[in-house]
Amino acid sequence: MTTHAPPETSHAAVAAVDLVKVYGSGDTAVRALDGVSVGFGRAEFTAIMGSSGSGKSTLMHCLAGLDTATSGRVLLGGTQLTGQSDRTLTRVRRERIGFVFQSFNLLPQLTAAQNITLPLDLAGRQPDAELLAHLVRVLGLGDRLNHRPSELSGGQQQRVALARALVARPEVVFADEPTGNLDSRSGAEVLTILRDSVRDLGQTVVMVTHDPIAAAYADRVVLLADGRLAGEIDKPNQVSVTDALRDLAARR
């Protein structure tokens, strides 16, 4: 297992090169990312794993143009995101990236259907009716479209968020612990849908998770420790992931 995987920026959907993110300054400065170089392949389902505080969310936020890195570069399909204006980043998020958060994914005053089409609305685009119908069917949201988030279960809310992330056909879907709040069955549903979107729709998915079972759905696992890349696992299964995590914990 290598500590530094070579950046596969050429064919990657999204990649980080020597990414550093420092929070605060002086004595209280925290190096949340400490020179991370990693690429995420097209039509690939990648899981990011690591202990709490290892910088997973920070990496994802930087990759998605939500946050700006202190140094280093982020490339989204060849476009450099670092140093771009807020306006450009906003457009990138709206048109090329989809999100699923751990919680608070939906606007409480909009219905499920309105929440799903929100990014397209913002971009002034019409949703692809076929894709929308497909997602609604696959996600089992047919009879919930006119409900508001407060009338949906946690799993249903997460599936609405997933539909929202997928319906705009973004280049990359980022999901930060999408199953963190769900029971194992709902979690499995969400993960299956993510994997199917990669298989059937050719979607690129990057997911942060703590759960080896969830990670086993991915094509590849990237391990983070103390803001650095700490290895990766191809074609992971539950056992290999658990082992890798145990190794990681033992090394500290």
Partner: protein, 843 residues
């Protein structure tokens, strides 16, 4: 437990002092306004007192008062002879008719400490028949230093000469003021009594001793000290100020009610934000009562801080402003330090805040402990209202409708003379108050329908508009709470605007009748020499229009041989050409039309029509001593006729009646604008009149200006007072938007994360805040216009219903603009926050 809960709540408040201020902002403004009003009243009272131009300060004794027999001229002489009296000045005023017009001749020593005038040209008179006049009088009456005219006044009935020797400046210049020493006034006007005598005691002499000697000299005359008289004058002035401020107080209390409503809604938002935290406290064992107690304590703290800050800032401004004004040359006194009032305002702020916080605190404390376990994303505000609130609101609305129906049933019938507006007016005010509270109760139900209408154009504008409308529609309770306050402000202002417009129409109509032109030349019962009319007509450089007319006083209306009406004397009848004057050209009528005028037709004023029992279209015989003519009633006016004529007839008909062809008066307008044009007109007419006997000139335009200014002032004062409520409404919108921005920071983060631009977010939040204004203004206009109409009808002043569209539309736009503006800052702040931080914010 109790203390711990209290601590968690107060530390939460202390950790975010900005939020505390925002919550209490409306109360802060209300405290500021209330205490500011107290200070302004003091400033006004003191200024009025300090600048009182009544009795000069050096006056020691005042003899005579309005309640008893006035002092005689002999009394004056005797007082002067009393040892120790340095100066005794008789104060007296008498009306004087001179060829040029009317003069108010007042006595004043002209020099010395007791004088109230200052000579600026010529010299002060010292002989009977000499006068000094004010600058405006000189201009108006065409008098100047050296002019000699003649007049009558007081007991003087045969004209005696009056010579202008000087021009003086006084504190008030009405345009017909003349001054002379008391002896000169008394001698010229043959007066035997004066109004009072002001006495100055010689330096060194004892005032008490002089007072005793004066009392002996003028037995039976009341004697007061100068200080006493000044105090009484000040008291009278202060009383007037006090009465004015009672009115101000009413508007201020409406503003306070508005502030209480705003605070209630801001607390609702603040508590909703803390729902999870409160639920957590409940889950770990805090009782409902403990929560209510802690939340109320927070309210009291907020009220205390807001009250103290409000009072302190009012005090600062109350002292700074007069100082600044004084520095720029205005006579304005500083207020005192009304400590009791300050404490009362602060206590009031606390009490009102606690009352306002009670309802939201009770409903927040009802939170289920389970709420703590639910994700924050799902706690959207409740949408509907409870059954009890619905029933209560419907009862209030029913009461409002009933009271309004009661008002309508009591409206004056046409021609009703014994109408008493107090009862229907009371009903109307009651109805308005009920309607407003019904609005408060039912507001959340109204927001969505109103939004469906007013939000339609916005929704067409794209996703941002849709989201703004959705954002408001999704939280109807908050939207209602804010919009209702805006609605209150708009209702009041639209009422004032409509009332003002009606009043303006009423005074315009009144003025068209009593002052249809700038000038009037009258012959006082005789006829105008033809030369006067032709000279006036020739002066077209100074006069724009010259309209001569005839007026007969004793016209009667006959049907067959029977005289119509109960009047002993006849009706004043004129052949004034209405079309010749712009102000009378478009008079409104109660019946018939003015275009029907012409030979054989007459127009009646409402009183004559009623007295004679005639309607438009009736035929009748018009009769004077010299003849009769059959005419038809073309129109009936809603009130009096121009020049107070009862009947307006065609000149040809007057000829047929045998009325002499000589004119009895003429109306004229100045050719130029402003004071100069008016003065030129006066000069031209005075030249036209020349020395003609018994011919007088009146400047009607002055009266019209005074009236116009009065109406305008009234409307502006009312708008100013009502603006207090609007100010609080705008503050309410601002603080609500700011708070809801804080509350929805994660929402903003989410929107930014999925691709809403910074500008987009800013626009969305600003539009939302403007939408509060749109909803409020729409509701306010829907309520305000009918109520204003009803109020005008209720007053029974026969003013027409008007909807001054432009001002109302302007009001709407301004309010929407203001509320949108109130959202600009919070929206900016929200858009600056990075999406990651916003998403991570703990709510």
């Amino acid at each position: 437990m109790r203390a711990t809960v209290l601590r968690t709540q107060t530390t939460a408040a202390a950790r975010r002092p900005g939020r505390l201020i925002l919550t209490g902002l409306a109360i802060l403004v209300a405290s500021f306004v209330v205490f500011g009003t107290v200070l302004v009243q003091q400033i006004t009272e003191r200024t009025v007192r300090d600048n009182l131009s009544g009795t000069p300060a050096v006056t020691d004794l005042v003899i005579g008062s309005v309640d008893v027999q006035p002092p005689t001229v002999t009394d004056v002489r005797q007082v002067r002879a009393v040892p120790g009296v340095a100066e005794a000045v008789a104060r007296v005023a008498t009306g004087v008719s001179i060829g040029e017009g009317y003069l108010n001749l007042q006595s004043d020593p002209g020099t010395g400490p007791l004088t109230t005038v200052r000579v600026i040209e010529g010299s002060y008179p010292d002989q009977p028949g000499e006068i000094a006049i004010t600058p405006r009088t000189a201009e108006r009456l065409g008098l100047s230093v050296g002019t000699t005219t003649s007049g009558t006044g007081g007991e003087l009935t045969t004209p005696a000469p009056l010579t202008v020797t000087g021009v003086v400046e006084t504190s008030a210049d009405a345009g017909y003021d003349a001054y002379a020493p008391d002896s000169a006034v008394i001698a010229w006007a043959r007066l035997t009594t004066v109004e009072r005598v002001d006495v100055r005691v010689a330096p060194g002499a004892s005032t008490d001793a002089v007072r005793q000697r004066v009392t002996a000299a003028v037995a039976g005359q009341p004697i007061r000290s100068g200080a006493e008289v000044r105090e009484a004058e000040a008291q009278a002035a202060a009383e007037q100020v006090g009465r004015l401020f009672i009115l101000v107080g009413m508007f201020v209390s409406i503003a306070v009610v508005a502030a209480a409503l705003v605070v209630t809604s801001t607390f609702r938002i603040v508590f909703a934000q803390r729902m999870r935290q409160l639920a957590l406290l409940r889950a770990v064992g805090a009782s409902r009562a403990t929560l209510v107690g802690a939340l109320t304590a927070e309210g009291a703290l907020t009220g205390l801080v807001a009250g103290v800050v409000g009072v302190a800032s009012a005090l600062t401004l109350g002292y700074a402003l007069p100082a600044i004004l004084r520095a720029t040359g205005h006579d304005v006194s500083s207020p005192g330090l009304p400590l009791a009032a300050a404490v009362a305002v602060v206590i009031g702020a606390v009490v009102i805040t606690v009352l306002a916080v009670l309802a939201p605190a009770l409903s927040a404390a009802r939170v289920s402990p389970l709420e703590a376990l639910r994700a924050a994303s799902v706690t959207a505000g409740r949408r509907g209202i409870g059954v009890s609130r619905l029933v209560f609101g419907l009862l209030l609305a029913g009461g409002a409708v009933l009271a309004a129906v009661g008002t309508i049933s009591q409206l004056p019938k046409p021609e009703q003379s014994d109408y008493d507006p107090s009862m229907p007016l009371l009903l109307l005010v009651g109805s308005g108050a009920l309607a407003f509270f019904a609005l408060v109760a039912l507001g959340p139900l109204l927001v969505r329908p109103v939004l469906a209408v007013v939000g339609w154009p916005l929704r067409q504008l794209g996703p941002l508009g849709r989201m703004s409308v959705g954002g408001i529609g999704g939280t109807p309770r908050r939207a209602a709470a804010v919009s209702v306050v805006v609605a209150l402000g708009v209702t009041l202002i639209s009422g004032v605007v409509i009332g003002g417009a009606s009043l303006q129409i009423l005074t315009d109509r009144e003025m068209a009748l009593s002052a249809p032109s700038d000038f009037e030349v009258t012959s006082n019962g005789g006829t105008l020499p033809p030369a006067v009319v032709s000279r006036a007509e020739a002066a077209d450089g100074a006069l724009a229009r010259v309209v001569p007319y005839r007026m007969v006083d004793d016209a009667r209306l006959l049907r067959g041989a029977d005289k119509l009406g109960d009047g002993e004397s006849g009706y004043p009848t004129s052949d004034l050409d209405l079309a010749a004057l712009p102000s009378t050209g478009d008079l409104d009528v109660a019946q018939g039309t003015l275009t029907d005028r012409g030979p054989g037709r007459i127009v009646l004023n409402s009183w004559v029509a009623r007295d004679a029992g005639l309607r438009a279209g009736d035929t009748v015989t018009l009769a004077v001593a010299t003849g009769t003519v059959d005419v038809r009633v073309a129109a009936v006016l809603p009130g009096d006729g121009p020049l107070h004529a009862g009947i307006l007839a065609d000149p040809g008909d007057l000829d047929r009646l045998g009325v002499p062809a000589a004119y009895t008066g003429l109306l004229a307008d100045a050719a130029g604008a402003g004071e100069d044009g008016r003065t030129a007109g006066v000069r031209a007419l005075r030249q036209a009149i020349g020395g003609s006997d018994g011919v007088g000139l009146a400047v009607l335009a002055d009266e019209r200006d005074r009236n116009d200014a009065l109406v305008r002032t009234l409307v502006w004062v009312a708008v100013g007072l009502v603006s207090l409520t609007v100010l609080i409404a705008v503050v309410g919108v601002g603080s609500t938007t700011a708070l809801s921005v804080v509350e929805r920071v994660r929402e903003s983060g989410l929107l930014r994360a999925i691709g809403l631009s910074r500008t987009g977010l800013r626009i969305m939040l600003t539009v939302e805040s403007g939408l509060y204004g749109v909803i409020g203004a729409a509701i306010g206009l829907v309520l305000g216009i009918p109520y204003a109409w009803l109020a005008v009808e209720t007053l029974g002043i026969e003013a027409p219903m008007t909807a001054p569209l432009l001002p109302l539309a302007g009001l709407f736009v301004v309010l929407v603009g203001l509320t949108a503006l109130a959202g600009v800052l919070p929206a900016r702040r929200a858009s600056r926050v990075s999406p990651v931080v916003a998403l991570g914010a703990d709510n």
